[in-house]
């Protein structure tokens, strides 16, 4: 079974600092109030290093990257 990496945002923790959208514009854009919208939850292989950085650089640790079984 193949694995995939998915992003999620803890909406209560998120403060709208916007670093994630700077790092990962391919997957994250900001709404009109500066909060992230995930345009895709699934992270393609080539963006994994950047996604990892978005997780680590978030000042409030609101982003998580999970490895999960791909749903059939």
């Amino acid at each position: 079974m193949s694995k995939e990496h998915t992003l999620s945002v803890d909406r209560i923790k998120c403060d709208g600092r916007g670093l994630c959208a700077e790092l990962l514009p391919e997957l994250i854009r900001l709404d009109d109030w500066g909060y992230p919208i995930l345009t895709s939850r699934t992270v393609p292989e080539h963006l994994l290093p950047l996604a990892q950085r978005a997780v680590e650089d978030c000042p409030v640790l609101a982003i998580a990257l999970r490895r999960s079984e791909r749903r059939p």
Binding site: I12, D31, Y35, I37
Partner: protein, 370 residues
Amino acid sequence: MALLDQPDTLAPLPRVGREIIGAIETSRLTGRGGASFATATKWRAVADRSRGDGVIVVNGAEGEPRSLKDGTLMSARPHLILDGAFIAARALRARRIVLYTGERHTAARDSMLRALAQRSEPESRTVGVANAPARYVAGAETAAVHFINHGIATPTTVPPYPFARGVDGAPTLVQNVETLANVAVLARTGKLPGTLLLTAAGAVARPGVVEVESGTTVADVVARAGGPSEAPRAVLVGGYFGRWMPASDAWALSLTQTTGIGCGVIGVLPQSRCPVCETAGIMRYLASESSAQCGPCFFGLRALADVCTRITRDESSPTDVQRLQRWAVDVRGRGACKHPDGAAIFLSSALAVFEQEFARHRPHDLRQAA
């Protein structure tokens, strides 16, 4: 036989254990939380994790301001609800039961406590009461758990879900009072009443709670509430988290537990009321009821309410309407709870059903002057 016609007796509880979950599954009972979630799935999730430490939260918070059905049921059939709670406690091997009633439900809570004092089952000694604040989100499952644990009725991030880690960190079932009463009838008689408790509100002759057979149309619900009190324009099906429908479409809508009736408020808007102003008022309420924890909900709903209000006071502009459409999509799925989703679905339905009214709205004082 309808729930409100069931005997509210003190007959001994039928002997039930975990196997009741199979009967619930066969009956296809779903919850009243808006998502029509299968009750059996929820019970099984707690039963699989409880090691005699589970908790049952009897949810009668009824945060929806127009809804009266949970308060009515608690006042009229408290023993039936307690039966359901005790059955749940046995089936899920729970250690503790919490009656979670709304602040505005004084009579209902008294009724539940009077009934509790008459009970002698061992479960009756494990029951505590929590008095939920009269806030819209207080009835959300995680808000109930958060309030019982920490005194704050705001939703929390999931996971952990209450079924895994809820009250006291233990596996917790949060179940609406109507659903528990349904389980009690199922355990006693072998079948569900097959009814829905609804609240008829707005332009009906006798606003209030009606219990109808599942599958009843909106027209019949309105008829049960005495018929329309004036010419109807639209119907809000499911309360403030529901959706608007033109009266002509809504009339034939058949209501079941899976047709998105949510809290079961059927609100009739008469021709004499302006749907734009009505929608703006509800959006202001929903914005003010955000628990202000998640940015997209706190800022998004406030912005949506502000634009709706601007349309009612100044002239509407295509830019404003487009903004509403875009933001209503943006805020969906972006809160820890479903508050922004409910408000966005409500608003999107208003923009669709009242498209002309939103496009052409002019302030009412100016209209009169003209």
